[in-house]
Symmetry: C2
Subunit: 372 residues, 2 copies
């Protein structure tokens, strides 16, 4: 039986090189998790996702509890079997999506009641139910139910919300059934207020989790503020456990956050951008709808190993994008996820060799640092 | 240099086993050509298409002349290089699509003027221009520009239209530049009128083409009438050249037409159905939106070798379809094209062994014969 644990191999400044051990295998960190909202990383097969180098994906409790339901997935053998992904899966708690449905939800001390965006049916999510759904899904990493307040709420509101999230985190910890190789992560909240973030981090550490996420960022604050809060928060988390910056982000933001001690990331950017015609490359981003690509016989990125770059020109991908063809979404999504995985692999290599800072400086020269 | 030629290996009743030799390789017949309208078989990579067993695809002149334009594709090295498909390509002449734009086109003796469905710009297609576009694309098989009248037009209208198509066919023959491995196909018209079909077939044979298509069917007549016209027409075409039934069809219609002497087919059905949640299987068709699949752990078709059937359950594919996920379209399209290719491979095997009729009878028992 695999124990759920984090091995820290090496540090370079604040940047960390590690391995996460889970019931479904290991994850080298820093790691970027492609988002597989509805039990599919959009426009890619699980084999395509694996070929990018991704070792772990994220799936969304909110979407899956509504369709096909957690109970159905459990009957069908769990999320790994259902979607054909045999490696680690992290699931969020559903809180972020539910609380984004501002017109459709009602929050109270016990939990949150909301209406489905699919059929308007009423549902209830409590800390206990969020943990149970993730158990039914079979997630390797379960996230606590938390409240993520909007950017710009005053300190007293942010404090009240963060303290309720702490009470929910305690209930999640109690509800979480220990299983070998499975872990529960707490989520630090507190908005952009340093004292609230410290209070949240300390309280979560005293409850004790298998990892710690930094939530409530990338919701409207500047990238510089996001990085500053992430850095200060990371410094207050245990060194021997993984740190996950939720919902971040652009390539330069991910690199900057790794330099500040973050181990895990997720973001819809590479997948969503792939469906809207944006390509991330070593020379910066390309908008494939732009007319300048229509006669360009270069690949998206000559240094990239993905199927799009091995087989097709910018001219063809531009044609597919402009024509709204599914193959365009398939190729660009695969390319973007490969790009993110290659950035993570390069980061791991330069952390191992103690060259993270100069490598990152070169990266920022192309991508900006902490861009908006 | 490959000569464009058709080798007839064997017959079984009217069914024929052959090989078509083209500049981009050989095609075993009977063959089903997946439709790659805009230089992509929707929701599949060229490698995915090849893995189904497909040896030739069809692309549409109308779509490509508008976007990205034939001239641009020629500058980029031709359609094979542009889309990354190195095997044979047949292109239609654009006539069928243009003439479907009933409100947007004006036909005269010289050709047809029409407005683009993309941006409303005015374009002109003549027999010479249709051949030139297909030369720019680099098609292995060029189709003559023809007029495909709507089903139900009176005999005098059908006759006038068919005779104009013959004059256009002659102009195409003159305009077609002989190149090794490239062929020009004539298209028999004449609606459902036997005498007109005979006149068209005889006139085309006297002009002389590298193959003969039967056009103007699958436009509203009953399947029985379609098969009857196809059979009678096929009987009037040279035995040593390929016969192509355009736009057909459902699996049983393809099988029935092979028994009547047809060698080549194209149809959007397997690809379009894949995007709307329909799966063709050895046991009949499945609508993956149907609630009865949501807990079904079987593959779509246990005897199928495609990625969908090797890796996923009906329950998962049903979830993808109901959720509008691109992976659902990818898996079902790949499955449906594989199904069609497997039907063709089985047909070739049973023609070789002289068992086409009993095999087809078993097939019709599951699929109906000449279904509507």
């Amino acid at each position: 039986m695999t124990e759920f644990r984090f091995e820290l191999h090496n540090t370079d400044g604040e940047a960390r090189l590690g391995t996460l051990h889970t019931a479904h295998g290991t994850v080298q960190t820093p790691a970027f998790m492609p988002v597989g909202t509805a039990a599919t990383v959009k426009a890619m097969s699980p084999a395509d996702v694996r070929a990018t180098g991704a070792e772990i994906i994220l799936a969304n409790t909110y979407h899956l509890m509504l369709r096909p339901t957690a109970e159905r997935i459990a009957r069908l053998g769990g999320l790994h079997a259902f979607m054909g992904w045999s490696r680690p899966i992290l699931t969020d708690s559903g809180g972020y999506q539910v609380l984004s449905l501002s017109a459709l939800r009602r929050i109270d001390e016990d939990g949150v009641t909301f209406r489905s965006h699919i059929d308007g049916s009423e549902h209830r999510l409590t800390p206990e139910r969020a943990v149970d759904i993730q158990r039914l899904l079979g997630s390797d990493i379960t996230m606590v139910l938390d409240e993520c307040p909007a950017f710009g709420v005053p300190a007293d509101e942010a404090a009240a919300s963060m303290r309720r999230s702490l009470r929910w985190a305690e209930r999640c910890r109690k509800a979480f059934e220990a299983r070998p190789g499975h872990g529960l992560f707490g989520i630090v909240q507190g908005g952009v207020y340093a004292d609230l973030r410290s209070e949240s981090a300390a309280a979560l550490c005293s409850i004790g989790f298998e990892g710690y996420a930094i939530g409530g960022l990338a919701v409207g604050e500047t990238p510089a503020m996001m990085l500053s809060v992430a850095e200060a928060t990371a410094a207050q988390l245990p060194t021997d456990q993984p740190r996950y910056l939720m919902g971040v982000g652009k390539p330069d933001q991910v690199v900057a956050a790794v330099l500040r001690g973050i181990d895990m990331f997720d973001c819809v950017l590479p997948t969503r951008s792939g469906r809207t015609g944006q390509a991330f490359t070593r020379a910066g981003t390309l908008n494939m709808r732009n007319a300048r690509h229509v006669d360009d016989t270069q690949p998206l990125d000559a240094a990239c190993r993905c199927p799009a770059c091995s087989n097709f020109t910018r001219a063809y991908i531009s044609h597919l994008t402009r024509s709204g063809e599914i193959l365009g979404a398939m190729l660009l999504t695969g390319h973007n996820i490969t790009f993110y995985q290659d950035v993570m692999a390069e980061l791991r290599a330069v952390i191992a060799s103690g060259n993270a800072r100069p490598w990152a400086d070169q990266f920022f020269a192309r991508y900006g640092e902490g861009s908006g």
